[in-house]
């Protein structure tokens, strides 16, 4: 499996890019001990004019490079944690619905459908606005709008695995239902969940940046979306302020998508996109 993944050029490019982003996020405090908010130079310093500030400065004279590095921390954090929370909601719900069927399924699916009927982005906006924008509310809001597909996926997978004969065998072995679900069924749904999760991290980063763009970012956490949101009004006079974080988002999201696709090809070889027979 790993071999198949490693032979996928796109996926490897994704891994390298993502590792680079993670590395930058980790060493940010060492590179820029003053933090992302420190006003270090005159405002609107054009990029590539001063060696100390290669990416220029923003409206208040803060180092754009430092902001990008710290932004990586926040964007990755939001992406990961919100995905985790979404999985924590979606996986058990989908698993129970798919495994037990009947009323549990009916109830869980009605609940899921209900959340899918409310327009996602609008709901996220309302949630963040209501709880006031901070990292917790942003993460929760993203998780709340992104769990339904997880639940549906897990349900479908569980339903398909549940029908396989080794589950019958486990039943005949006298294992209890919850135990069968956890030890026999769920481990066999992990691959598609991993694939979906990697794509969800990407989507969450985009969602966070969209919220920030609308002014619903955490003002105490420098994220890429926050940078673009702050810079959009000066896009004409200081293109670099929205350009660099935009590129950072694209690179990270692209990397995650490449990895997700690589995982998908590696874990579900029958759906290989190369079109082999």
């Amino acid at each position: 499996m790993w071999k198949r993944f490693a032979s996928n050029i796109g996926a490897m490019v994704g891994v390298v890019l993502l590792i680079a982003v993670i590395a930058i996020a980790i060493i940010a405090p060492m590179l820029y001990p003053g933090g992302p908010w420190q006003m270090v130079q005159r405002p609107f310093l054009v990029p590539f004019t001063m060696e100390a500030y290669p990416l220029g400065t923003d409206t208040l004279g803060r180092n754009v490079a430092a902001q990008l590095a710290y932004g990586a921390q926040v964007s990755l954090l939001v992406g990961l944690v919100s995905t985790l929370v979404a999985l924590l909601i979606g996986v058990p719900l989908g698993a129970v619905a798919g495994f037990y069927g009947g009323l549990a399924d009916e109830g869980a699916m009605r609940f899921t459908e209900f959340f899918q009927t409310i327009p996602n982005f609008a709901l996220a906006i309302v949630l963040v606005a209501i709880f006031q924008p901070n990292l917790t509310s942003i993460i929760l809001a993203i998780a709340i709008v992104s769990w339904p597909p997880v639940a549906r996926l897990v349900r479908a997978e569980v339903m398909s695995v549940r029908k396989r004969e080794f589950v019958d065998a486990a039943t005949l072995a006298g294992l209890s239902k919850p135990r069968i679900l956890i030890t026999q069924v769920l481990p066999n749904t992990v691959s598609p969940i991993i694939v979906m999760a990697s794509l969800m991290v990407a989507t969450a980063i985009l969602l966070e940046s969209s919220l920030s763009f609308l002014g619903l970012g955490d003002p105490n956490a420098m994220s890429w979306g926050y940078m673009i949101g702050a810079a959009r009004t000066v896009i004409r006079s200081a293109w670099w302020l929205s350009f660099f974080p935009g590129v950072a988002i694209i690179i990270t999201v692209l990397a995650l998508n490449l990895i997700g696709e690589g995982l998908n090809d590696a874990l579900n070889p029958h759906l290989s996109r190369k079109g082999r027979a």
Binding site: E165, F166, D168, A169, L172, A173, N188, G275
Partner: protein, 537 residues
């Protein structure tokens, strides 16, 4: 005159495959009006040969050498446009899976008419007429309705007939049939075979018939070619090959076929291992807010007994309810009525919790060797989960598991491996070991050898026979294949549409069937005449 001559054909597989050539140095010829059966197990390269003729090789697979002369030209190196013109018009092909071989979104009539359109023949209204005619010719009922039907509205046999209609549309000189009856029930299979024979006689075309089943060969072949791992191992006139096989492999294949040689009947003991009384299971579908409920009586008031130490064969076609009966007997399915008595306990009446403690009494061996083992669990886990739950100490359970793996012929070291490291036959052995690990009073084997190649099938049957002696097993052996049932079972029960039609000793069922349906089934077994002949010999 030969319709097709294949001359020293070799087909290369892509890098990383298990062998470099799918087909190696194969030559054959098919005469007009003749049926050539290409026989082999999976991976023998028989289908590749056919695909090569049609220009339908999967990407990466290429013709390395040789030619195939049809109509005086080598069809293997024709330009794509010429090949296209040939396909469907001169050489036609039908496939194994009638369920998936038809476009689900197109009406049958359109799919047939499309053949004419592809080759620019006739006007649309003529095409319709021709399609109707073809539908009639392949014996489909109510052509006017069929022509407007979608594939899902047809049964498997009907779909295969529709496929044949399509293949015959332009009166090809050569028909390639790739396992066209494998997915069908015996009675349907018999009808399709007869249809192909009729059409051959009427139209005088050549047929290349690919199959793994010597029964089918016996039924229709004029000439036979036996293939193994890409090479031809034996060829000749059908009667010669069947009656006097020269090559070892052919002989082994023929031996492996459950011949219907009836084993000596054993006297049943009257201690019952399983008693089923008045069992009923009804499936209800639909029943929404506005929908009427549709009922299917999957098991309809069935009573039968499996004596201790007895193997009872349960035979029926798909949809007969035999699998449901099996699953109900282990209570994977809860019955709507009746009793399932095992060792004095009525499994049908237990609560979930009580049932869990009684589960070990009846175990099951499943059909699909790939789905019946958890790919993410080591073999040891699969074999010890049950005993440990039942209360056997862990060390004891593991020791027993290793023992059983030795017994089923895999070796104790298999315990630490994962299922994907084993072949299909090996997995079935693991499945059997798993059932045995629970020390059950009864084992239900649900089509346990149906998914295996003939030679493997024979090995597994041997193992079962062996184990049965060794452990004095009681087995309910569910199968669609009467020949297999005859090999292993003491008695046979025949089911049709949820009801028990007939039950009796193997001798009674085979030699003196009481019911029409049983007789029909027996008559439909491919190669029935031949195998009885040889049984008599």
């Amino acid at each position: 005159m030969s319709t097709l001559v294949i001359d020293h054909l070799s087909i290369g597989l892509p890098e990383g495959a298990d062998r470099p050539l799918a087909v190696e140095d194969v030559s054959m010829a098919i005469e007009m009006g003749q049926i050539l059966c290409v026989v082999g197990e999976s991976g023998s390269g028989k289908s590749m040969t056919a695909n090569a003729l049609m220009g339908l090789l999967p990407p990466g697979v290429t013709v390395e050498a040789g030619k195939a002369v049809f109509n005086g030209q080598n069809v293997l190196d024709l330009p794509e446009s010429r090949k296209q013109a040939l396909r469907g018009a001169e050489i036609a092909m039908i496939f194994q899976e009638p369920m998936t071989a038809l476009n689900p979104l197109m009406r049958i009539g359109d799919q047939i008419a499309e053949v004419f359109a592809a080759h620019d023949r006739f006007t649309p209204s003529e095409r319709r007429e021709k399609a109707l005619h073809l539908i009639r010719e392949v014996g489909l009922p109510d052509p006017e309705k069929i022509i407007r039907a979608y594939p899902f509205q047809l049964s498997g046999g009907q779909r295969q007939r529709a496929m044949i209609a399509m293949a015959l549309a332009l009166e090809p000189k050569l028909l390639i049939a790739d396992e066209p009856t494998t997915a069908l029930d015996v009675t349907t299979q018999a009808q399709i075979l007869k249809l192909i024979l009729d059409l051959r006689d009427r139209r005088g075309m050549a047929v290349m018939f690919i199959t793994h089943d010597f029964g089918v060969v016996a039924e229709i072949a004029d000439q036979v070619i036996v293939m193994r791992e890409g090479k031809v191992v034996e060829r000749g006139v059908a009667a010669d090959v069947l009656g006097n096989p020269q090559h070892d492999y052919t002989r082994r294949l023929l031996d492996a076929i459950p011949t219907g040689k009836l084993p000596a009947a054993r006297a049943p003991r009257d201690v019952p291992a399983l008693e089923i009384k008045g069992l009923r299971k009804i499936y209800r579908t639909g029943g929404g807010l506005f929908k009427p409920v549709r009922e299917v009586r999957a098991v309809d008031d069935v009573s039968l007994t499996v004596a201790r130490g007895e193997v009872l064969g349960l035979v029926g076609e798909s949809g007969s309810g035999k699998s449901t009966l099996g699953r109900t007997a282990v209570r994977l399915v809860t019955p709507d009525g009746g009793q399932v008595m095992v060792g004095g306990t009525d499994l049908a009446a237990l609560s979930d919790e009580e049932l869990r403690r009684e589960r070990h009494k009846v175990q099951m061996v499943f059909q699909d060797p790939y789905a019946s083992l958890n790919p993410r669990q080591r073999i040891m886990g699969a074999l010890t989960d049950g005993p440990i739950t039942k209360g056997v100490p862990k060390a004891r359970a593991q020791e027993r598991a290793r023992e059983l793996l030795e017994i089923v012929g895999l070796g104790a070291e298999a315990a630490s491996r994962y299922p994907h490291e084993f072949s299909g036959g090996q997995r079935q052995r693991i499945g059997i070991a798993r059932a045995l690990a629970m020390d059950p009073e009864l084992i239900i084997a649900d089509e346990a050898v149906s998914a295996l190649d003939v030679s493997i099938q024979a090995q597994v049957l041997d193992l079962l026979r062996d184990l049965r002696e060794r452990f004095d097993l009681s087995i309910l052996f569910i199968t669609h294949d009467l020949r297999v049932a005859a090999q292993l079972c003491d008695r046979i029960a025949v089911m049709q549409k949820g009801r028990l039609v007939e039950i009796g000793t193997v001798h009674d069922i085979f030699l003196a069937p009481q019911q029409d349906y049983t007789r029909q089934l027996l008559a439909a077994v491919p190669g029935a005449g031949w195998s009885q002949e040889s049984a008599g010999a």
